[in-house]
Symmetry: C2
Subunit: 229 residues, 2 copies
DNA sequence: TTTTCTATTTGCGCCAGCGCAAAGACAAAT
DNA sequence: ATTTGTCTTTGCGCTGGCGCAAATAGAAAA
């Protein structure tokens, strides 16, 4: 657990004594599956490092449609904007997908810590930079790519993040509904189902209820990178 | 000019002596219309504050299609990620739309300055947070909204940023081609033309070559916010 | 086993928006 | 006034992907 914090994206490179302060000033929060750490727009009062479980960052559009931004695994940071004035609202909602726990630091402590440990600020910026890059890539895909490509990319990304090798291919080791994939790729449940079924017929995937195994990553990559439009 | 820097998004709230250092360590670069301050992927060596002219931030997709992220006006910061390790590449390309000039600071100086003036780090984070919010909003619009809505929003945003009141309505005070609008709203030149012509017929807009006047902002807002889909 | 609940598939119809091509309208240069 | 180059409009045809509804299939509970 200390290990996890020390290597977390927010506190890596923090000195030994700094780390003690960090550990001392954080509090542990646990949220059961389906619950929320915070909702989009809430004043950004805490930054979190996930300790156990899985947490989904989602956005909810005015019309109620959901967009899943990312699925976090232990060690990852969310709500990092809390370093700024808490007036800044959280830009997304953090929902636990299963029972989970996370360490939390409030704005005041964070700023205090950042004063003596500048790497915290840098880490936070690094994180934000990462989000920006990711968002831009996604936006690019949305504008320039076909739905098919977007789905392929999401599957590959999931495989990279939580893939496990099996004899059949790479298993995406999270319960994953077609709806989930749709929310991540900006399309509908139906289109995802049709597309993935097609891929199963071609032998690219092996799919089951809430399960995806990638048989031929290479084939997916080819689809994802295909320039033709 | 000092005025501009003092009030810029990157250096606001910096102390008087800090500001002197800032002014001393920056260099002035000018780029003629069509030229580039930097290209997407270049190592992020400098952060800039625009002094004069207009600069467009664009992304170029693998297939060559362009996405315009924002159009900067004097006082705004671009390339702010340079505070991080320059290994981080710029996430977008900065192209001058007309003859322009900008103050530039390199990574080493920035970090030095940030050490004594912590507000610089905070400003940078604030900036990044702004981008993230903007990108997320745009992504949401891309996924959930109709093309019509996206165009309406872009026009409203442009009006907010560079609108000038005239007797006919709000003039968007930048030369703006249909292609530009298309790149910002993630659609095509043709669709933009058709949509805007329609709006002109309905009296919402008055349009000309590279010119847009919003006659009834309220009508556009209604389209932009319309939940029906 | 049977029931119940939720996830998934699939047929069908539909239309928003794309892409091309050709014509028209401006603005600046000659 | 004429030319040249760029921006804009518009007709036409096409199709990817959406949305609904009904059927099917798994998994878990009873």
């Amino acid at each position: 657990m200390q290990q996890l914090i020390r290597e977390s994206s927010l506190f890596r490179e923090v000195s030994a004594q700094g780390l003690n302060q960090v550990l001392g000033s954080g509090i542990l929060r646990s949220v059961e599956g389906g619950g929320f750490y915070f909702m989009q727009g809430d004043p950004a009062a805490h930054a979190y490092v996930l300790v156990s479980g899985r947490v989904k960052m989602v956005q909810i559009a005015p019309n109620g449609q959901q967009i899943t931004l990312r699925i976090m695994t232990p060690g990852q940071t969310f709500g990092g904007i809390a370093i700024l004035q808490p007036q800044a609202g959280y830009p997304a909602t953090a929902q636990a997908e299963e029972d989970s726990a996370a360490m939390a630091w409030d704005t005041a402590h964070l700023r205090e810590l950042a004063k003596t440990e500048p790497s915290i600020s840098l880490n936070a910026m690094q994180l934000m930079h990462g989000y920006i890059t990711e968002l831009q890539e996604r936006q690019q895909a949305l504008v320039t790519g076909r739905v098919e490509q977007r789905i392929a990319r999401i599957l590959l990304k999931l495989a990279a993040d939580s893939g496990k090798k099996t004899e059949d291919g790479i298993l995406i080791d999270i319960p994953l509904t077609r709806q989930d994939v749709a929310e991540m790729s900006g399309t509908t449940l139906f289109t995802v189902s049709r597309t993935m079924s097609e891929w199963e017929r071609n032998g690219l995937l092996k799919i089951g209820r809430e399960r995806v195994i990638i048989r031929e990553p290479h084939g997916l990559v080819k689809i994802a990178d295909d320039l033709a439009r």
